[in-house]
């Protein structure tokens, strides 16, 4: 019997009082794709960081191809044949592809010969694994799909036999993700071992041979992919049965609450981010905005939320609102019945060093109920927060804790409780479940649907297509500052939406990955 490519025995790692990994053992056989799935904070990334020499395990042993191996730093990991593609790429933006590949793996003190050798190697690797890149392109000028291929090439150039990919599809369109998986299959056929870390059940089911599930720092189970189901994996991840589909009845849309007409936004750098967006959201419906991050959806939310100026027209309940920023801001938007759950809750939704009760008053701190004469009525805010914490099941249920000491899901619940309990006519919600665990996702989705059923209008922005498809009553796809089209969730699928997200309106025919990437890169190029 062949030795496992990787075997971890009893790995434990604590960060202060937090036990990130508890006695983890895992075997990954060579020439397979092994999935590691778990909620945020389950310890997946910590485990892989230990394998890549970023952290030293407190206890435990690592065996590579049957040999006990010490991995004190990244250099040792590379020497052991391990390559890692991080979720956030580790590329030097203003270097060329070639320079990035060579960095750290140069042959001698002079650069010229190393670059020449790498150029030759790249041609060879590109042919072998379908990893097409332009060696002389600057990283900042190529799309994320190609940047990811550069990361894979970096690992292969260092002769990695084991490739770890951390949440690789988070930034890709469905077509690009499929392309990536074909590359991974190709690598597997060449005998490489691949570890795929993800929180997406569908990816695990599609490409892996076996899968390990992590929960709260522990390895709960390792199973053959062919012998399991998404439902079983979800249950292993969360520790209880979860509903993977959003349970909602058909929408009963009423009068338009939000009418956006020819909205144009030019950002601080002079780049036009919205190029004439028109859409409307009616009472009692959820309009989902699908799109690859950076195509204008963030700016749309910011304009609606009153924190960015624009030209064009926006009407709330039939009344025009000021877009120049002269007569309106975030506060006046709130007074008009618009609540805003921003995309980046840690930067815009919360102040991480402030306590939960302080955070739950932000934006509404001028509410007379929170005042007592000239002073803030802190006791009232605290009491109010306690109610919110109970109704939104925030854990730990302590309003005195600082925002940063809650998990991602609970932070989001604090923001959501603050905005939803104001009973807004229109709820703007950006990336409601980014970095949120499955259990909390279910809860957050239910709350959004409840608000819809109460006859409110909801504008949902998300880069997660699954979320858009399951939550929305209507879907608008944004690309390069334009709305490419609207679809009904029942009448579309990921493939069609994926093409629209890449700016391709002809969804009847097949399109090559090169065509899709060229379109995406062109749109991204304007931003730089």
């Amino acid at each position: 019997m062949t030795a496992p490519a990787i075997e971890l025995k009893g790995i434990s790692k604590a960060f202060g009082p937090v036990q990130a990994n508890k006695d983890i053992s895992i075997r990954v056989m060579p020439g397979t794709i092994h999935g590691i799935i778990g909620e945020n904070g389950a310890g997946k990334s910590t485990l892989m960081s230990i394998l890549y020499g970023f952290y030293k395990a407190d206890r435990g042993e690592i065996f590579i191809n049957g040999n006990k191996t010490e991995i004190p730093d990244s250099q040792a990991a590379i020497a052991a044949g391990i390559g890692m593609v991080f979720q956030h790429f580790k590329l030097v933006e203003n270097f060329t592809v070639l320079e990035n590949v060579v960095l750290g793996a140069e042959d001698g003190a002079r650069l010229g010969p190393s670059l020449a050798k790498a150029r030759e190697q790249l041609v060879h690797l590109a042919k072998e694994y379908e990893l097409n890149v332009d060696p002389d392109a600057l990283i900042e000028e190529i799309g994320v799909g190609m940047q990811q291929r550069v990361e894979i090439l970096k690992a292969l150039y260092r002769e990695a036999e084991i490739l770890i990919l951390d949440e690789p599809t988070g930034v890709l369109t469905p077509a690009e993700a499929d392309h990536l998986f074909r590359i991974l299959e190709g690598l597997k056929e060449q005998g490489k071992t691949i570890i795929l870390i993800t929180h997406k059940l569908r990816e695990i089911m599609d490409v892996t041979d076996s899968v390990s599930v992590m929960r709260r720092g522990e390895m709960t189970d390792t199973v053959k992919t062919s012998e399991t189901s998404p439902e079983e994996l979800a249950e292993l991840m969360v520790g209880r049965k979860v509903l993977l589909r959003v349970d909602k009845k058909p929408a009963e849309p009423g009068a338009p609450v939000l009418e956006v007409n020819n909205l144009q936004v030019v950002d601080e750098k002079g780049v036009q981010r919205l190029k004439g967006v028109s859409l409307n959201v009616r009472a009692g419906e959820i309009l989902g905005i699908a799109g690859v991050a950076g195509n204008g959806q963030s700016e749309l939310l910011e304009v609606l939320g009153g924190i960015r100026t624009a030209t064009g027209s926006i009407k709330i309940n039939g009344q025009e609102i000021d877009l120049s920023g002269k007569y309106s801001d975030g506060r006046s938007r709130r007074e008009r019945g618009i609540a805003h759950v921003p995309e980046d809750r840690q930067r815009e939704g919360l102040i991480m060093d402030f306590r939960a009760w302080e955070n739950s008053a932000f934006g509404y701190h001028h509410d007379p109920a929170y005042q007592s004469g000239l002073l803030m009525n802190n006791a009232a805010i605290r009491a109010d927060t306690e109610g919110k914490i109970e109704r939104f099941d925030v854990r730990p249920a302590n309003p005195l804790l600082e925002a940063k000491s809650f998990s991602g899901g609970n932070q989001q619940k604090i923001v959501l409780a603050r905005e939803i309990e104001r009973n807004p006519d229109l709820l703007l919600v950006g990336q409601p479940t980014r970095g949120v665990d499955i259990g909390a996702i279910e809860f957050i989705h239910q709350r959004i649907v409840e608000l819809r059923d109460a006859g409110k209008a909801i504008l949902l922005v998300s880069v997660e297509l699954d979320e858009i498809l399951s939550l929305s009553d209507r879907i608008a796809v944004i690309f390069d500052g334009h709305i490419m089209g609207e679809r009904l969730p029942a009448e579309t699928d990921e493939k069609e939406l994926g093409l629209l997200m890449a700016g391709i309106t002809d969804t009847e025919h097949e399109h090559s990955i090169e065509e899709i990437e060229a379109n995406l890169a062109e749109a991204a190029g304007e931003v730089h």
Binding site: L91, V102, L103, E106, R110
Partner: protein
């Protein structure tokens, strides 16, 4: 303005640009590696003092030069410890170094030499002599080129040539060597360097050390080449002008040469108000001419001259992500 006057002005431009150029390249190495260094001024000053002091005592300017480099290196190591090892604020560390140098040089100088914070005047082998390049006198009769060679190119102290040669050297190191690639990468995205298995801390210390050496040469040149001894605050803001030149040069070695020569020219015409008057027909106050390099510095630092993108990871200590 006649040819001889022009040569004289360009000649002093070169001499005055030398400390700026050395300090500017010092800053270039440091900042390209992501360590902002506003302590160039302090390091030059410390080097100026110690080089003059040791040259005065030993009577050998080369020993003085080494002592100057050592003084500057000592401050560089402090900056490295504060900003790399202890991940402190690089600006505050730089300010502290400037204050430390301004105070300690005068204090120690007074304690050693009892001359009101000066060092004794340097003479003979305790000072850098001008080098007359080969054939300078033979070629002088050739019209135009002869005098240019003799007056402008020949007849400088060795450190002037060191500074000039440092430009192509810096360019080569940065853009044609493995070390340069890694150095530039660590200033742009240290995480990329770290995950590639290269030590971020090691690279940054190397950059700070090179910065120390170049600042040390710059300071020694001030006290033993340009002038004959150390006086209080003799760096006179040159460290800050070098920083302005660095931004003006967009962190590129050849641009740094031209930027420093420009600042050198401003300093040179300060000493020749008569030339300016002859050129523009209006008498300009000497004080105004003297302020010109500093005014230019403020204008450049305020960002009026084009868009300069600093190294992206500049000023930020590197902490591994979880």
């Amino acid at each position: 303005m006649d040819f001889v006057t022009l040569l004289q002005i360009l000649d002093s431009t070169l001499r005055l640009a030398t400390p700026l150029l050395l300090a500017c390249l010092a800053g270039l190495f440091s900042e390209r590696a992501g360590i902002f260094d506003i302590g160039l001024e302090g390091k030059m000053l410390a080097a100026a003092f110690l080089s003059a002091a040791v040259a005065a005592v030993s009577g050998n300017v080369w020993v003085g030069l080494l002592a100057g480099i050592a003084a500057s290196m000592a401050l560089s190591i402090i900056h490295g410890l504060a900003s790399i090892t202890f991940r402190g604020n690089q600006l505050i560390s730089g300010v502290a170094i400037n204050f430390l140098a301004a105070g300690i040089t005068v204090l120690v100088s007074q304690s050693w030499f009892k001359q009101g914070g000066r060092t004794p005047s340097l003479e003979g082998p305790a000072r850098f002599e001008s080098w007359t390049l080969p054939l300078a006198n033979t070629l002088e009769p050739i019209p135009i080129l002869g005098p240019i060679y003799k007056e402008l190119i020949s007849g400088h102290t060795p450190l002037v040539y060191v500074a000039l040669l440092a430009v192509p050297f810096t360019w080569y190191v940065l853009f044609r060597t493995r070390f340069g690639l890694r150095l530039r990468a660590v200033g742009e995205n240290p995480a990329a360097v770290d995950t590639a298995g290269v030590s971020v801390v090691g690279l940054r210390y190397a950059a700070v050390a090179i910065c120390g050496v170049l600042c040390g040469i710059a300071g020694a040149y001030l006290a033993t080449g340009l002038q004959a001894g150390f006086v209080k605050d003799m760096s006179a803001g040159r460290g800050f002008i070098a920083l302005a030149a660095l931004i003006f040069a967009k962190w590129r070695p050849w641009y740094a040469l031209w930027a420093c020569l420009l600042f050198g020219l401003f300093s040179a015409i300060e000493t020749r108000p008569d030339v300016i008057e002859a050129l523009i027909g209006v008498k300009v106050q000497v004080q105004l001419l003297g302020a010109l390099p500093y005014i230019m510095t403020v204008v450049i630092l305020a960002g009026f001259v084009g868009k300069a993108i600093p190294p992206r990871a500049g000023g930020e200590p590197y902490v591994k992500e979880r």
